[in-house]
């Protein structure tokens, strides 16, 4: 019998990696993740969860692309606390605002007792049920560094994680927002030709976490990210991602609402062309009463680009008064582009209001004609309509200043295409 291709790919990848040294709580978490990975193996083309995205570039031993050039800072001009990650070297600012602790995973690993111990690998493991997420397991086992961020008070200055350099980094961030605390996390930059980034987030009761990620216009990059979040009572989680180009992006988000009255909004706006393949895979679990969740995803695709959306709302038994909403839409700018979607609902409670919608189509010819008849050149007219299409996702950014800033970047990058 021929060797199982998944087993073979897993063996090859594991042989090419070395488990970072050190025992302690992190060592134990790494071993646990490795064990789980070996049991499920890395994803293959025939896995149901990868039916629309070929995982090979993310699984194979070495990145298939060269390291791309660095892009401009999309958050330039804003008052942020910048943390730079160069490959896996992290420089943490000396002074941080009150109510905030920032450290590196490497340093945290040395501590006998560390709060991150209760989060690292735990949220990821929980998020692998019922659907396994082997690339996140790989990350938990082999991450060479990452940030450990803890908010104990209302932090107004956003933290900006700026990645540069590296070739094939595996980074793992851990965030804890304590009861009543709030923090905003911004992410930008290019982390190598291929990156595997996991962020585990624990939001305690009444805590607030905002997240904005901007993947700027770099065409040749392979990105794989996972967000794992657990939300306590009356807590808030809001995450938005803007993706401009990139050869392959798979962004997974796994959100668990475990306390009553929690709110989770997750959104994404993406545009790209040619070999652009953008996959948003989202799994939201309602395990408490009276919670609200929203998923808003918009993609604009051109010249054979492929957009994928796999979104799920799971409402567990007893999660009454759930309000779940999900929308996935794509705009196909030409006949070669493709949109593939699997928007799922799985509901075990009766007093809920859940809905999902998905639409795909071409640009509105009437609107285009209107703009053209008023003297707007075709390119500009198209861009205007693209912007208005993506706006619904961008509007999910709560902070007005940040929202305006991201909108400007988006318009600028579109006009440069």
């Amino acid at each position: 019998m021929a060797a199982d291709p998944k087993q073979q790919a897993t063996d090859e990848r594991l042989a090419a990696l070395t488990l970072p040294e050190g025992g302690g709580w992190l060592g134990a978490a790494r071993k646990d993740a490795l064990g789980r990975l070996q049991a499920v193996r890395l994803p293959g083309r025939r896995d149901e969860y990868w039916r629309y995205t070929n995982p090979t570039p993310l699984v194979q031993t070495a990145p298939a692309l060269d390291v791309p050039d660095q892009v401009e800072d999309p958050f330039a001009g804003l008052d942020t606390l910048v943390v730079t990650i160069d490959g896996d070297d992290i420089s943490v600012p000396d002074t941080v605002p009150d109510g905030l602790e920032i450290g590196t995973l490497r340093n945290a690993a040395g501590a006998d007792i560390h709060w991150a111990k209760d989060v690292y690998g735990r949220r990821e493991a929980a998020g692998s049920r019922p659907v396994s997420r082997p690339l996140a397991m790989l990350n938990s086992a082999f991450a060479t560094n990452g940030l450990v961020i803890r908010a104990t008070g209302q932090v107004t200055q956003p933290i900006h994680i700026r990645t540069t350099g590296g070739t094939d980094p595996i980074l793992h961030h851990v965030v804890k927002v304590e009861s009543g605390a709030s923090v905003t996390l911004l992410e930008s930059g290019v982390a190598g030709a291929r990156s595997n980034i996991v962020t585990e987030i624990e939001v305690a009761d009444t805590g607030t976490f905002h997240h904005i990620r901007v993947d700027g216009p770099v065409r040749a990059r392979h990105v794989n990210t996972h967000l794992f979040a657990r939300l306590g009572t009356e807590s808030t989680f809001k995450s938005f991602t803007l993706s401009a180009h990139g050869a392959l992006t798979r962004n997974e988000a796994v959100i668990e609402l475990t306390g009553d009255d929690a709110v989770s909004h997750i959104a994404g706006a993406a545009f790209g062309q040619g070999d652009f393949h953008h996959d948003d895979t989202v799994f939201v679990t309602h395990d408490a009463e009276n919670c609200e969740s929203r998923q808003v995803y918009k993609k604009v695709l051109r010249d054979g680009a492929v957009g994928v959306f796999q979104g799920k709302i799971l409402v567990k038994e007893g999660a009454q008064k759930t309000d779940g909403y999900q929308i996935s839409q794509s705009l196909l700018l030409d006949d070669d582009s493709v949109f593939l979607a699997k928007p799922e609902l799985e509901i075990y409670a009766d007093d809920v209001a859940c809905s999902h919608g998905s639409t795909t189509g071409a640009i509105d010819e009437t609107a285009l004609f209107y703009l053209r008849s008023r003297g707007v050149p075709e390119r500009d007219a198209t861009n205007l309509l693209v912007l208005s299409f993506l706006a619904e996702a961008v509007e999910e950014i709560e902070d007005e200043g940040l929202r305006a800033h991201v909108s400007e970047r988006l318009a600028d990058w579109l006009s440069r295409d």
Partner: protein, 505 residues
């Protein structure tokens, strides 16, 4: 009760649906059993059994070879596990694959020769096997002639009789059992059988290819509008016996037919298997309407017994401007696994799917449709209403696929779920694949509970809670019920109410 009595009771059903439902004693009214002598093939499945079935049907060599190929492929296949249904492992060797009433040993020459017990069975089910009678529940409007419906009645593994064959033949329509078609019209069967659902399409379709025992065959010639509605009524009576029927419908250019399908089974403690295949071929400008009221025994309120219903139904719109409409009311079966699909190959062809799936007690339904758009300017519409009550699980699973060449095509999908009670589940698993930009695909789904305001309105007008739920649910299903032919719409409305009986409180 005579057929006439039945008709009177069903008159004015719209206003009296709820009343009628209350008057029905049991929750499953077709659970009785016909005491009749039955010949079985030996238990289990093997090449010998396949040969035996073929021999009993007096089939030619090519048909046996086709079956055997199906069997050999099936042996190498694995049962699919992806559906959201759970049931104990099926022992395929612990079943009978062929059961025939002994009186059917010699095929009756006319309906008059059919065993009165069998005729009585169908009469009791409201299915008249006499040509002068009409389907129960329908009375002609004053001054209008009786509406005729031709019936092919399948009892366990054999077709008991087909009505109105002569009258249909005058119009050129062939309506007979599939076993008869294999003998009488081999050129048509050879050409089309397996051309829509290939022999090894999926596990259950492959099993069916090997052991199908009877089913209906319909051929509508070019330009013919079938003069009456055709229907097949499937009854499983024997214990531990699977029913594997195969239906083949061919609509030649510019033809039209409306086909109805009904099914029931006695109440038994042991689950029974039903794995059917329906293939429909639609050529240029032809139209086929296929309506099903699936009311197999659903098992008792503790989840014991019931039918495992694993069905493959597919229509191939081969011709330009061809049209298919699937309408289904799924209230029965312990487990349902069924996805009536449309391949929209011809330019401007159209596919429609209207479904109500009701799952109560321990029922599990995983059902939906596939719309495969291959031709230009093709259209499809999906309206699915799922209702879960008790401890039941109800899943809509569907695929809408726009291929690169299916320019300017449209799809609209709406799937709504209603939950009654806190221990049931309602799930939606749509797949949407769009590979060109001139097509438009829209998908909407909602899940909710029975609306409090509507309930309050009904209750304040003196309805008890069960009646009010039945009324609200009927309203929820209206779009689908309206798509059904009249004969079925009435039965379906009542079924919706019966299936939910006892789910409140």
């Amino acid at each position: 009760m005579t057929v006439l009595d039945e008709m009177r009771v069903k008159e004015g059903v719209d206003a009296e649906t709820v009343e009628r439902v209350k008057s029905l004693s049991g929750t499953y009214k077709h659970g009785w059993n016909t005491e009749i002598e039955t010949d079985y093939a030996p238990k289990g499945l093997s090449e010998d059994i396949v040969r035996l079935i073929s021999e009993k049907n007096e089939e030619p060599e090519w048909m046996l070879d086709w079956r055997l190929e199906g069997y050999r492929r099936w042996v190498g296949m694995k049962e699919p596990k992806w559906a959201m249904v759970q049931y104990p492992e099926i022992d395929f060797q612990d079943q009978y694959y062929y059961a025939r009433p002994s009186s059917m040993l010699e095929k009756p020459k006319s309906l008059d020769d059919v065993d009165p017990k069998l005729l009585e069975t169908y009469k009791k089910l409201g299915i008249p096997l006499k040509e002068q009678a009409i389907l129960a529940g329908v009375e002609p409007a004053p001054g209008e002639e009786n509406r005729k419906v031709a019936v092919d009645a399948v009892f366990d593994s054999v077709s008991v009789g087909t009505t109105f064959q002569k009258e249909l033949a005058k119009a050129g329509v062939i309506f007979c059992s599939i076993s008869e078609a294999v003998r009488e019209h081999p050129e048509l069967v050879k050409k089309y059988l397996g051309s829509v659902v290939p022999q090894s399409d999926n596990y259950y379709a492959t099993l069916n290819s090997a052991v199908f025992s009877d089913g209906s065959f319909v051929y509508i010639p070019k330009g013919v509008r079938c003069p009456m509605e055709l229907s097949t009524y499937f009854r499983i009576n024997a214990e531990n016996t699977g029913q594997f029927e195969r239906t083949l419908i061919i609509a030649e250019e510019e033809s039209y037919v409306s086909y109805l399908e009904g099914c029931t089974a006695p109440q038994r403690d042991v689950a029974q298997l039903h794995a059917a295949v329906v293939e429909i071929v639609v050529l240029d400008d032809a139209e086929v309407k296929y309506s099903t009221v699936q009311n197999w025994y659903p098992g008792d309120e503790n989840g014991r017994g019931g039918i495992y219903n694993f069905v493959t139904k597919r229509a191939d719109c081969r011709g330009d401007r061809s049209k298919v409409m699937w309408t289904q009311v799924e209230t029965g079966s312990a487990v349902t696994w069924k996805y009536p699909s449309c391949i929209l190959r011809g330019d401007e062809s159209q596919g429609e799917f209207y479904s109500i799936a009701i799952a109560n007690n321990f029922q599990q339904a995983d059902t939906g449709t596939k719309m495969i758009h291959l031709g230009k300017n093709t259209r499809s519409r999906i309206v699915s209403k799922g209702i879960s009550a008790g401890k039941a699980q109800n899943t809509y699973r569907g695929l809408v696929s726009m291929h690169p060449k299916a320019k300017n095509s449209r799809n609209y999908t709406q799937c709504d779920s209603l939950l009654i009670g806190s221990e049931c589940g309602a799930h939606t698993v749509p797949y949407i694949e769009v590979r060109n930009n001139s097509s438009r695909v829209e998908h909407e789904a909602t899940t909710s509970k029975v609306d409090d305001d509507q309930m309050f309105y009904c209750r304040s007008r003196g309805m008890d809670e069960e009646e009010a739920v039945a009324l609200v649910v009927n309203g929820f299903c209206k779009e689908v019920l309206q798509a059904l032919p009249m004969e079925f719409a009435m039965e379906a409305q009542q079924l919706v109410a019966i299936s939910l009986e006892g789910s409140v409180g």
